[in-house]
């Protein structure tokens, strides 16, 4: 498998064209949240630096807020909080991955974006439950890249589940919990 570095534009569509899709291979954008995670490049619109995020009061704690993406109000989800991983402050390497799934555009806040990789689709294996920190419901599978493991996130499920969780979040709110909204 070959490694492709992000073009300076940072726009995903800039290299989708260059690479040309072969059905037997998938292109993944990998990013770090402690472990290495990946999502198919076809679901990604662009990757941007973290600028001003306006927090939205009384919303689920994993919703980081909204940003201005060229005149659009884009929601940003904190993927660490969403996957119930330990919290980490945003830093210089933090990025927002702008994804589009089922015609819905949402930004995912991640620790850093690593690179774009091309893997044969039969490299993807079912996720071994016992080794993973996160809920396997949101995982398509894992694939070994060199000597590390990339966990593939099922954005469709992750973003769908979110709607149900809103009720949970509102319950949390009513009990006075508004954790992690202070950063």
């Amino acid at each position: 498998m070959s490694k492709i570095f992000l073009p300076p534009s940072g726009l995903a569509e800039d290299f989708i064209g260059e690479i040309g899709e072969e059905p037997s291979e998938i292109h993944l954008v990998t990013f770090a949240l402690g472990e290495q995670y990946g999502v198919p490049i076809s679901q990604i619109q662009e990757i941007i630096r973290v600028g001003n995020i306006t927090m939205v009061p009384n919303s689920p704690s994993y919703m980081e807020g909204v940003i201005n993406l060229r005149g659009r109000v884009l929601p940003v989800l904190n993927l660490r909080k969403r996957l119930r991983l330990s919290a980490k402050d945003t830093g210089k390497m933090s990025r927002i991955i702008v994804t589009e799934v089922n015609r819905k555009t949402i930004g995912l806040l991640v620790d850093s974006v690593s690179h774009v990789i091309k893997v044969p689709s039969d490299f993807v294996e079912a996720a071994p439950e016992e080794v993973l920190e996160i809920d396997t419901d949101y995982i398509t599978g894992v694939c070994k890249v060199k000597d590390s493991l990339v966990i593939l996130i099922d954005l469709e499920k992750l973003l769908k589940r979110e709607k149900i969780d809103i009720k949970e979040a509102i319950n949390d709110l009513q009990q006075g919990g508004n954790d992690g909204k202070e950063n």
Binding site: T54, P57, V66, N68, V73, I166
Partner: protein
């Protein structure tokens, strides 16, 4: 709408129906009998017939009726298509000519008696006497139309663009202020100022123009109710007259769409529970016939819609009693009509058990108030027992761009829709008093509850010594919102928040400022809900 407008509409409409008729005939001639085409054509002709009747062109109406008969007979296989198609083409020409005569001289009433006779003969099977009608070549083109149909989405995207322009304008104005401070070239800054002002004026005109295009008369919603009122009244053996006033008042289409449901609830309540049965009304010395009046009028940047009935009215004592029973208000509270009527709109307040003595009012009214507040409007109710009830809905003329007061609190800026703002005052910490664990302020002989925006949103709780109170809501529901600083008024373009944020209590949407910063728009209605919840506990 005067007669010449009506004629114009009629002609536009007629020409499109005739075009449809022609292409249907062409397709029948080419591909033979097709049921769906016949049905579509019948629909088209039927509308034209109705319109012609309405405009007083009786002869035209009868003629179209005959054409319809031929088509129906075709459908029943009583006439063969091949035998009829010729006369159908002729009849299309007859209609075209007639419509063109009307177009040339609107006072002209075409007389088609001969043509009607000819068609009748055709129907009876004794053909041949019919003269071929020659048609003026130009009339194939039909009248030129002055109206076009546009997909509403296109207008929406135009409005979005205007919204962006408004944002950029604000940005440029900010830059201008900065430039004035740094550049010492008076004529240049003056030129810049003039240029910006001109651009601002054009943008404002553009905005107004697009707003106007999106407007529909409120009769679009009003006209949905006569049938409902009639049926409801009939099923309850009541006689009710539904009266419209000011139905030509125009509103943005999106507001019109959102208005249906609240109006439905209010009107249904008025018919079901407000208006008494005829005999009861006579005993009370009222007219046998009940009256429900829908009024619309424009007041500056708002549209006011009133729904008034002359029925039982609301028994505030009974409502108050129900409120006390449910623990929503305390029995020792002094009677305040405003507070009691506010109960009607609260979510927890249904009077189902008391449906007989409080006339079931309140059902669906929380939905009404929620829908209206979603539109940045508000609704109030006034009623005199045994005399009647008036609901007053006040709405901004458009939904997308609204004037807002920018308020800073806890280091964040929020936009408060001007539609809700009454006034703002500067106060000191010691002006705030505490009654029953709630912060209040004495303002113009009234005691208003104070809500601190930073606490409401869980922000930094620093309390400056002097701060501002923004008084929102109307008389009965006034609340003072405490903010650190006011940053002036400006037009904001409302963008909805993604559903991923859940209910995001207290937030109606977001907007982008000239400097690119996102500012959230406050949902005033949620403050009342909060107040009701805390008062209920």
């Amino acid at each position: 709408m005067d007669y010449s407008d009506l004629i114009k509409d009629y002609l536009d409409d007629a020409s499109s129906h005739l075009n449809a008729f022609d292409s249907a005939l062409l397709s029948l001639e080419k591909d033979g009998y097709k049921k769906d085409i016949i049905i579509a054509t019948l629909g088209s002709l039927h509308t034209l017939k109705g319109n012609s009747g309405m405009m007083g062109f009786e002869s035209l109406k009868t003629y179209i009726h005959q054409v319809e008969e031929i088509l129906k007979n075709l459908d029943d296989n009583r006439i063969e298509l091949g035998a009829a198609i010729g006369s159908l083409f002729d009849s299309a020409n007859v209609l075209r000519n007639a419509v063109q005569w009307i177009g040339n001289n609107p006072t002209f009433t075409p007389d088609l008696t001969e043509n009607i006779m000819a068609l009748q003969k055709k129907l009876e099977g004794s053909d041949d006497a019919s003269e071929k009608q020659q048609v003026d070549l130009a009339s194939y083109l039909g009248a030129k139309t002055d109206t076009i149909k546009v997909d509403f989405k296109r207008l929406d995207s135009l409005l979005n663009l205007v919204g962006e322009l408004v944002i950029f304008k604000t940005r440029l104005n900010q830059i201008e202020t900065q430039i004035k401070g740094t550049i010492n070239n008076k004529s240049l800054t003056k030129d810049l100022n003039e240029g910006l002002e001109l651009m601002g004026k054009t943008i404002a005109e553009l905005q107004e123009g697009i707003m106007k295009v999106r407007m529909l008369p409120v009769s679009y919603v009003f006209n949905k109710f006569p049938r409902m009122v009639r049926d409801l009244a009939k099923s309850q053996d009541k006689e009710i007259q539904l009266i419209f006033e000011g139905e030509t008042t125009e509103l943005d289409k999106t507001v019109i769409d959102e208005l249906e449901e609240p109006l439905l609830h209010i009107i249904r309540n008025a018919v079901d529970h407000g208006i008494e049965p005829g005999e009861e009304r006579i005993k009370k010395g009222k007219n046998y016939k009940g009256r429900v009046t829908l009024t619309a009028c424009q007041e500056s940047n708002y549209v006011v819609i009133r729904i008034q009935d002359d029925g039982r009215g609301i028994d505030f004592d009974a409502i108050r009693k129900a409120g006390i029973d449910k623990g929503l208000i305390k029995s020792e509270d002094s009677f305040d009509k405003d507070n009691v009527s506010a109960l009607l709109f609260s979510a927890g307040f249904t009077t189902k058990q008391e449906a007989t003595d409080v006339s079931g009012r309140g059902i669906g009214l929380d939905v009404v108030s929620k829908n209206i507040s979603k539109l940045n409007g508000h609704v109030i109710v006034d009623s005199v027992h045994e005399k009647g009830t008036v609901f007053t809905i006040k709405l901004p003329l458009n939904l997308a761009i609204i004037p807002a007061l920018m308020a800073e609190t806890g280091g964040e800026i929020y936009a408060i829709p001007m539609s809700a703002v009454d006034e703002s005052i500067k106060v000191r910490e010691e002006d705030i008093h505490i009654i029953n664990n709630h912060e209040v302020i004495r303002f113009r002989e009234r005691v208003l509850p104070v809500i601190r925006l930073n606490e409401f949103f869980g922000l930094d709780k620093k309390k400056p010594k002097r701060f501002y109170l923004v008084i929102v809501g109307k008389s009965e529901k006034r609340i003072a919102i405490a903010v650190d600083r006011l940053r002036g008024q400006q037009e904001v373009v409302i963008k909805p928040l993604d559903e991923a944020f859940g209910k995001s209590y207290g937030i109606a949407g977001a907007t982008i400022l000239g400097d690119g910063r996102i500012v959230l728009i406050v949902d005033i209605m949620s403050f009342y809900e909060k107040r009701e919840v805390s008062a209920g506990v």
